[in-house]
Symmetry: C2
Subunit: 339 residues, 2 copies
């Protein structure tokens, strides 16, 4: 099969890879209908994380082509959405709603779903089948559910976005934008998007943002305080992962408020005394996407949400290198790849 | 009046201070019945925080001797308990339950309650009167409610201690010990005290600890994991405030679990990637004691809890220097001072 390999920073190639096969009886093989490039794929692409001939990709939707002997909930032909972490969905951690920290988890990025096929470990616990084959125009939204919607949603839940709350969103990438969608769905009263790009501001408003703040850093914090009676937002979503964005998020939150952070932290250090003085809640990490998939599939197939709107460039898998370039240069918010 | 002044690290003196008087119409003056030395008073005493001729003390119970023209809920003669932060109890932050972050707060430590009298700002919002004059044997428990019980309680709430939960407590000082009491009252199933001192272990068990772990650092984390099926505790109370104790708390918590931290952080730095990888909740800071005072007064006057058991040394105010020495040398867990 064909698949994306990141040879080295900046060097994306699509080449022949060995077809995946069932290894464990709990595995399934899926033919990938659509996959995409994640903001987190840009870290190694930009040399901010070490990389050496790595298969890429951890977001996917597709059709089951083969199942292991112990797979019970899926049949060949099912259209499925899965999380970027595989999970058994039965251990104590999964049952508490943290499937991304399952005691038997595998990071799908190590498998590489920017490819024609993929082996999905713990298929019963990881994949959720849609009711029948979805309409073609729903594919982008279902693909978004695999990570970027789930991650934005988790951030909004972690930030306790809800009725009566003012939510600020740091980061106008796909995750931040879908954090806005999630905050809206969760009933937030006011949603402040922090963005200085006109196209992303427009998408933020499409998903439910009520206010736009263009300032960043201390000026951004001051503006949020100004908009919230000097107190700060109740709920702040951090969807970048840098020291500046984390500080901006923490300092934009009122005492007793909640920061939900999902940007993969790079060289972030939180000062204990500042956190003590802030009196805020901090929660985040790898989103337990699996928890939300049944609800996402319902909302998407009933056309109540359209998270697929974050994809502003679709390319054949063979053109993956151009997709990486477009995201790196911020010419695209989120790139879908079709094998 | 007489009051404690910390001239410099290690140099505690009791000397004449100016009698407090009403400054704002919302003030009250109280005659202090009992006050005490806080673990946090040891930071400047040990030279870990700068100090220069500072009045000391922020815990207190006493009798109202004078009220300002705008004080409405108190009368002269009331026996009152107050928090270590004054608060109006009406602002949006107070109303959300975070009175220790009130927009009009004053830190009582700047006033210094290790004295015969104290001026209490925002008396209506800060003080809660007991139903009548309390029995003398209840004074230590009511004094504990002023800070150390409230702080341990907030830590347990922040750690979401409750039914079905395993709670681990890092720190066997008075706050940690009362965190155990709080976890028990909140219905925790299992409470693991981390302590290597026989007398504190005994008090931990008295307050409700079901297990004792003597190991610290990595070994302590390993022991907590061993006791929790490899997963870590659901809820961890951090009641020390050092880098080691914070790491021990974070690493003892299962994914999705909660750390409640109340040790005033000193040179603590939290690595963003470690926090991301842990998937835990982190909440703490200055405890909103005021929120809990009515319930504390009820529990104490109905003799359902006895937080005053943490006081193992009572001295006249004049002997405050010996009280500081006893706590510094760990000869006493918590010292009560009676003016």
């Amino acid at each position: 099969m064909r698949g994306v390999i990141l040879y080295a920073p900046g060097d994306v190639r699509v080449e022949d890879r060995v077809d995946p096969r069932i290894v464990e009886p709990t595995d399934a093989i899926i033919k990938i209908t659509a996959t995409c490039i994640c903001g987190s794929d840009l870290w190694p692409y930009r040399g901010a994380e070490p990389v050496d001939h790595a298969p890429m990709g951890h977001e996917y939707v597709g059709v089951v082509t083969e199942i292991g002997a112990e797979v019970k909930t899926l049949v060949v032909g099912d259209f499925v959405v899965g999380s970027f972490w595989s999970s058994d969905n039965t251990c104590e951690i999964c049952q508490s709603g943290y499937q991304s920290y399952c005691v038997h988890r595998t990071l799908m990025g190590t498998i590489g779903t920017q490819a024609e096929y993929a082996r999905i470990p713990l298929a019963d616990g990881t994949l959720v089948a849609t009711p029948g084959q979805p309409d073609a125009d729903l594919i982008p939204s279902l693909l978004a559910a695999s990570d970027v919607l789930g991650t934005g949603w988790f951030a909004a839940v972690a930030a306790q976005a809800g009725p009566g709350k003012t939510v600020a969103v740091v980061g106008d990438g796909a995750v931040g934008l879908l954090g806005i969608l999630a905050a809206k769905e969760l009933g937030a009263e006011r949603i402040i998007a922090m963005s200085r790009h006109a196209d992303r501001q427009a998408l933020a408003r499409h998903f439910g943002a009520t206010d736009i703040v263009e300032e960043r850093g201390d000026a951004g914090v001051a503006r949020i305080k100004e908009l919230t009676g000097g107190l700060g937002a109740h709920s702040v979503i951090e969807a970048v992962g840098t020291q500046e964005s984390m500080q901006q998020a923490m300092r934009s939150t009122r005492p007793g408020g909640h920061v939900g952070f999902v940007g993969v932290s790079h060289a972030v250090s939180i000062d204990g005394l500042e956190l003590f003085g802030a009196g805020i809640h901090l929660h985040g990490g790898a989103a337990p996407v699996r928890q939300y998939l049944p609800e996402f599939i319902r909302l998407i197939t009933e056309r109540q949400i359209d998270p697929g709107a974050v994809f502003d460039l679709t390319l054949p898998l063979e053109d993956a290198a151009e997709g990486y370039r477009a995201m790196d240069e911020r010419r695209a918010t989120k790139v879908m790849l079709t094998p």
